[in-house]
Every structure is written in structure tokens, then in C-alpha cells.
């Protein structure tokens, strides 16, 4: 192939597809190259055991950018979104349980059984979360301004953000500014007393973090996770019918509908450069493809350190890239189940099994889980977040049988005194099943098939550096102006013709499509110049 594309997008993850679709929609000739045989990146549904389909990467949609859904007509392209309700079911250590529902009043009732005081605090807390996350939503949708520029435009962006902040009102503004840098423990301690409630909420502040809930920045991540969720519906998530791969499929259809080409089994080896400008890509097969622009949906470290000859980049810049912290801490366990788990604290196949099942008895439990990882071991008692999508979608498992996907934390990428070999992998799988069986004793026997993906597997399968599901930790120092690296937070790269559009860019990870959306906007903005 010798004809030049307007843009080559590396990686058919959901952000790459969003960017590709928008560029194609704007009339560009777009080519998307995917290393694997199937598209989706970490938003993928695979049949790993006959008859059982699993979301092997991400298991739920955080929240899709509304503009993406509308602009790309995802519903028309087959995306059907199912809200989980209850949002969370958290079994407690002493036979109690907690249910969070989409309706705040229902949640308050459940909390009230554990602590009337906490139930009374619920509306106030959810209102604060809503205010803070609305502010963060504005931030997420804004391309980080060039703060050091003296240009009117950048000043304007900053003033607008300051204006948004002020619009919260004096009191809330100070409150939001105060809580953003806090630890999620501090935040929750100010509101609640029940360990199970605090643990279950706090878990949203540690996802993908090589930090425990006692670390600053976890309050921010907690609030960030609630961007765009319905007020009062904390830790709510969405599912796509047919598995999360349904989202990727819809995005791909939208992109192809606008004329984009998507090639799978097309492994990009490097980005070709001439005269300080990206000119296309070279595949592992030896094929070279020319493109006026190259847009990388893979993480910044892979993009800059693996796909580019370092000679094209400044040492200081490369230092910053190498300093991005990945430190993956998540593993995934996918179970094919012969029967539903039966929880001792809430027996039977009730609606509670439809939400996220969160093993998070207390903040201390989460912190201790992290302590192990800090010294290079996986948690003796890990935090678990499980879903059983086959309950709401019978296309995923044979009748009467079920699939369960579990996000496990903490399983550090760097193991002390060892590597993630088969023995370690299965030890982790056993640990997870044991832990969950403590709450649902029938689970162990119900397992028909088990797939364990360690951080090393996540790296190998999905190309996530160090297995970090967010393309770089979502700590305060790696956000906004500093994502992916300080000074290059605006989707552009220090190499003409190269852009980034993945979760490693602002506003970061999660299944949102926002980085891809923002990147497309910036690319088209430059093209108009």
C-alpha cells in the first residue's frame, strides 16, 4: 500500500476508535491499526471457555462522554447500555451487608440498618460528591491550558475554569478545594462511622493506584470516578449488552461508517520519522504505511520509548516519560460458574448479585491489602470488585450458568523475590476464590473454569505498561497539566505530526472516551490552522 492516509491511529482501544471516528467524520482518511486479532483494546469481550464470554479487560463502563454517544450515534450502531442497580453489594465481615442503589433513598435505608447517623449524612455527602464531580467534569472536558503561555486564549481557558470554580459559591468552593488533595480516609472519616460503608466507598479512590486509601490523591480519584454519574448513585457503573466488547463494536461501526479503515493483526513496530516529523508507521511485518498524522492510542511510555527512536526526542523530555509511574496493581480473575454464588449474609439469587460485588469491609482492610503490595507481594486479603454480567445478559453464558469477572487489587507488577510465573498466577487465583468464598461458601465448588490475568499478563495481552489499567497512575502529580508528562498535556507530542489519544492523556483512565474525544478536537483544531 502506498497511498497516504490523513491519519493513522495506533491501537483500536476505545479511545483510539473514538478519535478515529471523529477524524473520519470530519472527512479525513483514517486507518486504525490493531495489534491483536480483535479490536477493543481493554474493552473487549472474549469467549475464553466454550459458551462463556468474558470482559477480559475492563468489566464496566465508567461513564461515556455524552457527546461521544450522541455524535457517533452509538445507539444506532448497536450499543445498548444497561445500568446496574443496585450499584454495589458489599458483604460485611460479620454477616452484615450494604447495598448502594441508584435511588439515594434506597441506599439510605440500607445504610440506616448499619448506622442511622451515616444514613442521615448520606444526602449531604452525595450532594458534595455531585458538586465536586461536576467541577471535575468541566475540567475533564477541557484540554489542559498551556499555563505558561501568555496568550489570551490560554488565559481565557484558565479564567473559565476559575469561573466554574467560583460558581460553586464561596463555601462549596473552599470545601471542594479543601477535599481534592485529601486522602479518601480523611474525606470519609469526616462523614461516616461505619467501616463497611467507608471501605466500600473508599475503594473507588484506590482503583489502579499503587497507594492505599490513606494516601493523598485518593479523595480526588474517588470524586473523579463519579464524574457524570447520577447524583446520589455512588459507585454506579454501566454495562454494555453483549459484553463491553459491544462498545468497541459500536465505535468501530461508527468509524467505518464515516469511512475509516480498521486493520487487525497489524502490529506497529515503530513510528517513522523524517526531518523531525512523524511520517507514518512501520509494521512488524515490514510493511510501511505513510500518514500525514500519527495518533497513538497506546500508553505514552510505549509511544515515546518503544515506538520512537529516542534520538528524536529531548533527553529532558524522555526523562519525564521514563518517570511516569505505572506500577500496575490490578489483576483480573474470570470465572465460569456452574451456579450463582450464594452469599451467607444475603442468601439467594436476589437483585443484589446484579451490582458490583465489593469485598471492602473497611478502609483498614484496603490499606492492609496495599501494605503487602508495597513490599512486593500480592495482598493476603485482597480488595475484590466482581460482576456477574450473565445475570442481566443471557447471551454471555449457557442457560443456568454464569460468568463472573473480578478485578483484584493489590497484585503488584514487580514481585519481590520472583516473577509472575504459573505458580504465582494460580496462587493469586486461589487467594481470590478463597477470599470470595469466605462470603459465598458455594463459590469454590461452582467454578467450572478460571482465567487469571496478572499485571504481567495484562501487559502482554493488552499492551498496558506494567499492567497499569489507566496507562499511568491517576495520582495528583500525573493529572491534568502533568498528564502524560508535564508540559505536554495537550495531546500533542514534541514531534510534529504525532498526537496521543489514549488513557495516558488527560483526563485519564476508565471507559469514558473523553481522552479520545479531546484528542480528536485538538487534532482537528490544529488542522484548521
Amino acid at each position: 500500500m502506498n497511498d497516504t492516509y490523513d491519519a493513522i491511529v495506533i491501537g483500536a482501544g476505545h479511545n483510539g476508535l473514538v478519535t478515529a471516528a471523529y477524524l473520519a467524520k470530519a472527512g479525513r482518511r483514517v486507518l486504525v491499526l490493531e495489534r491483536r486479532e480483535l479490536i477493543g483494546g481493554a474493552t473487549v469481550t472474549e469467549e475464553i471457555h466454550p459458551g462463556f464470554k468474558f470482559d477480559t479487560g475492563a468489566h464496566s463502563i465508567t461513564r461515556l462522554h455524552p457527546a461521544v454517544v450522541a455524535d457517533l450515534r452509538l445507539a444506532a450502531h448497536g450499543l445498548e447500555v444497561l445500568p446496574l442497580d443496585p450499584t454495589v453489594f458489599a458483604p460485611g465481615p460479620n454477616g452484615e451487608h450494604l447495598l448502594l442503589w441508584r435511588k439515594p433513598a434506597d441506599t439510605a435505608t440500607s445504610i440506616g440498618e448499619l448506622s442511622p447517623a451515616d444514613a442521615a449524612g448520606w444526602p449531604g455527602f452525595t450532594a458534595l460528591v455531585a458538586k465536586a464531580s461536576r467541577l471535575l467534569e468541566t475540567v475533564a472536558e477541557t484540554t489542559p491550558p498551556d499555563v505558561l503561555s501568555k496568550k489570551l486564549k490560554d488565559n481565557w481557558v484558565m479564567l473559565r475554569l476559575a469561573g466554574r470554580l467560583r460558581r460553586l459559591g464561596k463555601r462549596d468552593m473552599v470545601e471542594v478545594l479543601r477535599i481534592l488533595p485529601m486522602t479518601v480516609v480523611e474525606l470519609l472519616d469526616e462523614w461516616f462511622e461505619t467501616d463497611l460503608l467507608k471501605g466500600t466507598l473508599g475503594a473507588a479512590g484506590i482503583t489502579g493506584m499503587s497507594q492505599g486509601p490513606m494516601a493523598a490523591g485518593t479523595a480526588h480519584l474517588f470524586l473523579h470516578q463519579h464524574i457524570g454519574t447520577r447524583e446520589g448513585a455512588l459507585r454506579s457503573a454501566l454495562r454494555a449488552r453483549g459484553g463491553i466488547g459491544g462498545l468497541a463494536a459500536a465505535l468501530a461501526k461508527a468509524a467505518q461508517g464515516h469511512g475509516a479503515t480498521i486493520r487487525t493483526n497489524a502490529w506497529v513496530e515503530r513510528i517513522t520519522v523524517e526531518d523531525g516529523r512523524a511520517t507514518g508507521v512501520a509494521l512488524v511485518s515490514g510493511e510501511e504505511i505513510a500518514g500525514r498524522l500519527v495518533v497513538s492510542g497506546v500508553d505514552p511510555k510505549r509511544t515515546y520509548c518503544d515506538l520512537l527512536d529516542p534520538m528524536n526526542l529531548d533527553v529532558e523530555f524522555l526523562r519525564r516519560v521514563r518517570n511516569i509511574r505505572f506500577k500496575g496493581v490490578c489483576a483480573r480473575v474470570n470465572l465460569a460458574l456452574g451456579e450463582l454464588p450464594d452469599f451467607a449474609c444475603l442468601p439467594g439469587a436476589g437483585p443484589h448479585l446484579r451490582g458490583l460485588i465489593s469485598v471492602s469491609p473497611s478502609l483498614d482492610y484496603l490499606e492492609r491489602a496495599f501494605d503487602d503490595a508495597k513490599y512486593g507481594d500480592f495482598s493476603r486479603e485482597p480488595y475484590l470488585e466482581a460482576v456477574i454480567p450473565s445475570l442481566t445478559d443471557d447471551s454471555l453464558a449457557p442457560a443456568g450458568k454464569h460468568v463472573m469477572s473480578i478485578l483484584v487489587q493489590y497484585a503488584p507488577y514487580d514481585l519481590k523475590g520472583g516473577v509472575w510465573d504459573d505458580a504465582k498466577r494460580e496462587a493469586l487465583g486461589d487467594r481470590v476464590v478463597e477470599t470470595l468464598s469466605r462470603y459465598a461458601p458455594n463459590l469454590e465448588a461452582a467454578v467450572l473454569h478460571r482465567q487469571v490475568l496478572t499485571p504481567l499478563d495484562l501487559e502482554a495481552v493488552f499492551g498496558l505498561t506494567e499492567g497499569n489499567i489507566y496507562h499511568g497512575e491517576m495520582t495528583l502529580d500525573q493529572l491534568f497539566l502533568m498528564r502524560p508528562v508535564p508540559g505536554w498535556a495537550r495531546y500533542r507530542a514534541p514531534l510534529a505530526g504525532l498526537y496521543l489519544c489514549g488513557a495516558g492523556t488527560h483526563p485519564g483512565g476508565g471507559v469514558t472516551g473523553t481522552p479520545g474525544y479531546n484528542a480528536a478536537r485538538e487534532i482537528l483544531r490544529d488542522a484548521r490552522r
Binding site: V147, L177, P181, A215, A216, N323, D477, M482, P486
Partner: protein, 527 residues
């Protein structure tokens, strides 16, 4: 003493900040009285002869960043202040090796080179960047925090000025500052260095007085403090006051007295007298009352607002904010009278290294494990320690040939599981001595007397709520316009003519005197 003469200002607490405020007010011609509950002034900056012939700087033991303008303006050297430099920082390692950083650049470089050639180079690059950043941070430390919610021209101007200042920085510095403000000390140092004891020892400065570990975000910016002195013309400012830390307080007190301030010790303030929303004086525990035009509290915010005044006199959201204000103590102090010098396995004998600090911080993991104990309510079995031997710098601190050793140790949580009592205190003392004996085997038998101060004693004896040495944790959400609570970060309080001047106000922390000075200047502005 009776309800007698009227004062312009009554200052609650004769700690170093209270004394600084008193001295500045007296200098402006105000009639000032300082009320100190203990028998001597100084608060936490005090030196006491707890064991005959041995002078212990019971709590605060080094003079880190005493503002040079205070030294100049109050003419402290004339009042007896002499600061002696610390020579070095030595980190002994369990494998018998060690790492020393000397005042001399070449020596330090060679020593670092021994551990890692790359680190030896990175250390210079790091130093240069920190020097720049300290310079860039300076404007923040020297101003009254503006209220970001206010639309008053004064606050807006101040905000705009700050924003202009920071956006005028070179990109490298701007982003390094952003990182320092948000990162953990250990993570930030990981970006520069590979030598464990170097990272651990440098990162230790980020956790002193906080309830955080070296891997907790928000601990990195304290790394700057070590470079702050250099830009203020007090090169090698980390030092030791001749005669002990108490000598700093004595010098400030002498400066205040010379200008006519009155200092009363063993005078306990029961409450602040508030009449129709205005502070008019204080009531003492004996029933006496002292009236003054303004009342200034040098004690911590919890005491200032939850104990000394009736919460009825304060807006409820302010009371809530002060209740939420985090003031968890996390450190203890062990003072030893020694019959002989410790003999370090890693560097035997007497040498210049004993004139500097000794830091028990062999690795990041060591530091984190110390923190882990504290997270769940125990004191560290193997604590981080910052040790100096004052008698090596100032022979007057101990009888000839004998020595005093000052050990700052972390972590010792105020909220100890089961609570602090004599047994727990001595168990903590044992943990400290045992750990140190691993590095200096002769230590245990050289001890003539041991004085252990846990956060409980700090609260009960020295009036530091929960034993927090900084009057409130120096975490991001308790700094600048949130110190101690928005919108009362300008040394004023919701009660008219009631001011605060302690470490619980901006910029807080350490023996800097900055809070006391800024408070005094603002009080005078309101006069």
C-alpha cells in the same frame, strides 16, 4: 497581681512564635504581656537540665529555618543567639556500610559516587533545581495568604500577583513545583536517585511531624526546606543553637523584654474574655483577669478556639472546621545523658561525623515499615530517628567528657492502641535505644539517664494538642489559605481583636518565627 494595669496586647503562650509576636509589638511601642504556663519560656523550643549537669533540648533540637530577618530585626545575636552549623548527616546501614553527606561538596560527591556514580551527578542537578524552586517558593512564605473566594481588590491583586509570579517561571521549574506539591518524597526522589539510604534520608525530612509515610503524596515539597536557607543568606542554616534550642527562645525573650514587654511564667490562661463579640482580655486560672486591647494566641488552633473561647462566640462552620483540623501527633523524643560517645559500627571512633546528624533511615522500606506500625495504632518497632549529640558541638551541654544525645523519633502515634502510660512510654524508649544499639553497640551501657517524651507528654506537659509538634499537620489541605481554616488564615479570627500567631497559622512548622512575625505585622496593620 491584681486586675490592674491595662495592656495593649496580651499574648497567650511564651513559645517562640508568641515571643516573636511580643517582640515585634513591643518594638512598635505597644505594651505587651506574655503569659506562659510553664516555669520557663520557649514552649517546645526549650532547654532544660532534666538530669544534673546535662542540658536537654527537650523537644525541638535543631534550628532549621529561623527567619534571617527576625535575627536581624530583633538583633538576636546581641541578645545571645549563636547558631553553630551541623557538619554532616550520617546514615548508618545494617550491612556495616554508611552514607555521609558533608558540608563540603567534593567530599559529599565522592561519598555519593561510592554508592552510585549517577547519583553523585544527579545530586548536583537536583541541588540546582531545588535552589531555583526555593527561590520561586519564597513569595508564598512571606505573604499573608489571600482568600481565593474573595473578590476584594486586595485578595485579587495578591492572587494575580502570585499567578503571574508562578506563570513567569521557566517550564522546568513550574512543573517541578507542581510535582513537589503533589508527590510523595520517595517517589520524587525515585525520579532522581537510586541509592536507597540517600533517598530514605532525604525523604525523612518530608515526614517529620506528619502522620504520613515517605511514600505518601504531599511529602515531597518539604525537600525544598533544606535549600530555603541558601537563598536567604543563611547558608548552612541547619544548625544548632549554642546552649540548646532554649537559647533561641531566651534571645527572643530578651529582645522583647528590652523593648518593654513583660513576660510572666507559671501563668495559666483559663479563657479569653469576649464581650459583645470582641476579645478584651484573658482570665487566669486563679481568677485574675488581664485586660488588653488585643489578645493574641500562640497556642494551637484546637486550644485557641475549642478551649480558650466559648464556641458560642464563633460561627458554627468555623468550629466544625477547627474540629476537623488534623493535629495527630506522630513523633516522640528521647534524650539521653551518656557517659561516653556512641561508637558506631559503621564508622568507629570519634570523628567529625559525630558533630553532625545521624539518621536512622537505611531504606525506604525501613521508613515505610515504621509508618505501617503507626497506621494501625502502634509505635514503630524500628523507628526513624534523627539524632544529634549537642555536646559535641557545644561542650557546655554536658559535664566534661560526657555527652547528651537528642533523638527525634517517629512514629509514635498519639492515638496509641490502649493509650499511653508509663509502661508504653518506656517500651517506646526501649524500642528506640534497642534499634540504635544495633548501630552503636556501646550505647546501652553508656546511658546514665533517659528522658522519653511521647506525644502524650507533649500534650500534657508542653501544651501541644495530641503532641503535634507543628500545631497541626502540614498536609496540603491544611496549608496556606486553609491554615488553620478558611477564611481565617490572615492571623485574624472570627472574634474581633483576637488574633493567632502560632505554628497553626501560615506558614507554620519548625522554629522559623515566620508565623509570629507575620501575625505581629498584621496586628499592627489593624491597629
Amino acid at each position: 497581681m491584681g486586675a490592674e494595669k491595662r495592656y495593649d496586647a496580651v499574648i497567650i503562650g511564651g513559645g517562640h512564635n508568641g515571643l516573636v509576636t511580643a517582640a515585634y509589638l513591643a518594638r512598635a511601642g505597644k505594651r505587651v504581656v506574655v503569659l506562659e504556663q510553664r516555669p520557663r519560656v520557649g514552649g517546645s523550643a526549650v532547654t532544660e537540665e532534666i538530669y544534673p549537669g546535662f542540658k536537654f533540648s527537650s523537644l525541638s533540637y535543631v534550628v532549621s529555618l529561623l527567619r534571617p530577618e527576625i535575627i536581624r530585626e530583633l538583633e538576636l545575636p546581641r541578645h545571645g543567639l549563636e547558631l553553630l552549623p551541623l557538619e554532616s548527616t550520617l546514615t548508618p546501614l545494617p550491612n556495616g556500610d554508611h552514607l555521609v553527606r558533608w558540608a563540603d561538596h567534593d567530599l559529599t560527591r565522592r561519598e555519593l559516587y561510592r554508592h552510585s556514580p549517577k547519583d553523585a551527578e544527579a545530586y548536583d542537578d537536583f541541588g540546582k533545581l531545588m535552589y531555583h524552586l526555593a527561590f520561586a517558593m519564597k513569595p508564598i512564605l512571606g505573604i499573608v495568604p489571600p482568600d481565593p473566594t474573595s473578590l476584594s481588590p486586595k485578595d485579587l491583586r495578591s492572587l494575580l500577583k502570585l499567578s503571574k509570579h508562578y506563570r513567569g517561571l521557566p517550564a522546568e521549574q513550574f512543573y517541578a513545583l507542581c510535582k513537589l506539591m503533589t508527590m510523595s518524597a520517595a517517589d520524587y526522589l525515585d525520579e532522581w536517585f537510586e541509592t536507597e539510604p540517600l533517598k530514605a534520608t532525604m525523604s525523612a525530612s518530608g515526614i517529620i511531624g506528619t502522620f504520613l509515610g515517605v511514600r505518601s503524596p504531599g511529602t515531597a515539597y518539604v525537600l525544598l526546606h533544606h535549600y530555603m536557607g541558601e537563598i536567604d543568606g543563611v547558608f548552612r542554616a541547619w544548625g544548632f543553637a549554642k546552649g540548646g534550642t532554649g537559647a533561641v527562645s531566651e534571645a527572643i525573650a530578651a529582645a522583647a523584654r528590652e523593648r518593654g514587654a513583660e513576660i510572666r511564667t507559671e501563668t495559666v490562661v483559663e479563657r479569653v474574655i469576649v464581650k459583645s463579640g470582641r476579645a478584651v482580655g484573658v482570665a487566669l486560672d486563679g481568677g485574675d483577669e488581664i485586660y488588653a486591647r488585643v489578645v493574641v494566641s500562640g497556642v494551637d488552633p484546637k486550644l485557641s478556639f475549642l478551649k480558650l473561647v466559648d464556641s458560642k462566640d464563633l460561627p458554627s462552620d468555623f468550629v466544625d472546621a477547627i474540629r476537623r483540623y488534623k493535629i495527630r501527633g506522630s513523633s516522640g523524643k528521647v534524650n539521653l545523658a551518656l557517659s561516653e560517645l556512641p561508637n558506631l559500627t559503621c564508622r568507629p571512633g570519634v570523628g567529625p561525623h559525630l558533630r553532625g546528624a545521624i539518621s536512622i533511615s537505611p531504606s525506604i522500606e525501613y521508613m515505610e515499615r515504621a509508618y505501617d506500625d503507626a497506621k494501625y495504632g502502634s509505635f514503630s518497632r524500628h523507628p526513624y530517628m534523627d539524632i544529634i549529640i549537642p555536646s559535641m558541638i557545644d561542650p557546655g551541654m554536658a559535664p566534661p567528657g560526657q555527652h547528651v544525645m537528642s533523638i527525634f523519633c517517629q512514629y509514635a502515634p498519639f492515638e496509641l492502641k490502649g493509650g499511653w502510660d508509663d509502661t508504653q512510654r518506656e517500651a517506646f524508649g526501649d524500642a528506640v535505644v534497642d534499634t540504635l544499639t544495633e548501630f552503636a553497640p556501646n550505647l546501652k551501657r553508656a546511658i546514665l539517664h533517659r528522658h522519653v517524651v511521647t506525644p502524650w507528654e507533649m500534650q500534657e506537659e508542653y501544651g501541644l494538642t495530641q503532641g503535634n509538634i507543628f500545631h497541626g499537620e502540614l498536609s496540603l489541605h491544611q496549608l496556606f489559605f486553609n491554615r488553620p481554616a478558611h477564611p481565617w488564615a490572615d492571623y485574624r479570627t472570627p472574634i474581633k481583636r483576637y488574633y493567632q500567631c502560632g505554628s497553626g497559622t501560615h506558614p507554620g512548622g519548625g522554629i522559623t518565627g515566620a508565623s509570629g512575625r507575620l501575625a505581629a505585622l498584621n496586628i499592627l496593620k489593624d491597629w
